[in-house]
Symmetry: C2
């Protein structure tokens, strides 16, 4: 009788190894693209930084585009978690029902920390890929739009809860406010990186706060 | 007696030819970088599109960075002219003293026309280079900051004129408003390109208008 259990475990181990290496490639890719952009990020350099043999890229990803989609998916997961921590969710009413001004202050603080940690060299993956690939590459364009729409949904829900608590002047549409905030935020991240300063981020939150309260 | 005049004219002609070709390279480079980004723009392809022999790039530019600086200088000239047309200058009081809402509407209309003309494939050079090179390349970072600061000066002057005409609610700092607008605008251009829609641009102007009037 062949030792099936052993073969099975060995398969699982290989699968786990593959996933772990894939995950390390995604992390290294995120760092590279956030700092230097998509076109400037060589797959070989990413492989080397993780100690994966040159030429084995296609064992992990079907194409460089698929690698980019994996980066975007990973970044989106990271960013949505940040939004959940700051804005709460329906399942986490403690965080969700704090005042919007507190929630935005938390989001600002996490974002400033995140950019300062890497000395303002890293911005936003959606902004970076959007600038480089948003014009000509339909696969990225659609995925980037989808990512931004998900941020909009989260923030619009947050704004609606604040509206229900009477924190926002009447007559404003939550979706419209959320969309405007993220556009302004993307520009502020770009500027913060150029200016190496948290000021543009703080100003974007201030302007938003003024817009909804005045 | 050597025909000095002929030699001189021939020098001048060669210089004019060189400048004309350089100008065509800058135009072709702008188109390429606005659509596909900096790292994806191959110098060879730009040369080919203008019919300049491969290998003669360094006759026109000392390096690819110098080429990039020339693109930025040309774009900045183009953009400051747009701002002058829309916002006026101290030397053009007719345009400068129109209501700020009219001036912003003109700026929005020109910008939407400009992006629609190229089917939303082209955004803003400062945004594009800022995303790709703003993190790691000090020469670009400083030049991009300088470009943005020039836009801020023009808009802040425009806002101060509107303040003097009593169009803006009291207590706002013109520089602060101008800086906030351009950050929001860069994000809106990114989003307009992704969404292939003028809506983000219109919303950025609307939010700004609300902020200064409410």
């Amino acid at each position: 009788m062949p030792d099936n259990r052993r073969i099975t475990r060995s398969h699982a181990e290989r699968r786990d190894d593959k996933l772990a290496t894939r995950e390390r490639l995604v992390r290294a890719g995120l760092e590279a693209v956030l700092e230097a952009g998509w076109a400037a990020t060589g797959v070989d350099k990413v492989l080397r930084s993780v100690g994966v043999p040159k030429g084995s890229f296609y064992y992990y990803f079907a194409s460089k585009d698929e690698f980019g989609y994996a980066l975007l998916e990973s970044y989106q997961g990271f960013f949505l978690k940040r939004l959940e921590r700051c804005f709460g969710t329906a399942a986490d009413p403690g965080a969700a029902e704090r005042p919007l001004s507190r929630q935005m202050a938390d989001f600002l603080a996490e974002s400033v920390d995140g950019m300062r940690r890497f000395e303002w060299r890293r911005g936003c993956l959606v902004g970076a890929l959007g600038q480089e690939l948003g014009g000509l590459h339909e696969g990225f364009r659609q995925r980037l739009e989808t990512s931004l729409q998900a941020w909009e949904h989260v923030l619009a829900d947050t704004i609606r809860r604040a509206q229900a608590r009477g924190e926002i002047r009447p007559g404003l549409l939550a979706e419209r406010l959320a969309r405007g905030f993220w556009a302004a935020w993307e520009g502020a991240v770009l500027r913060a990186r150029l200016a190496r300063s948290p000021e543009p981020l703080a100003r974007a939150v201030e302007d938003f706060t003024h817009l909804i309260h005045s």
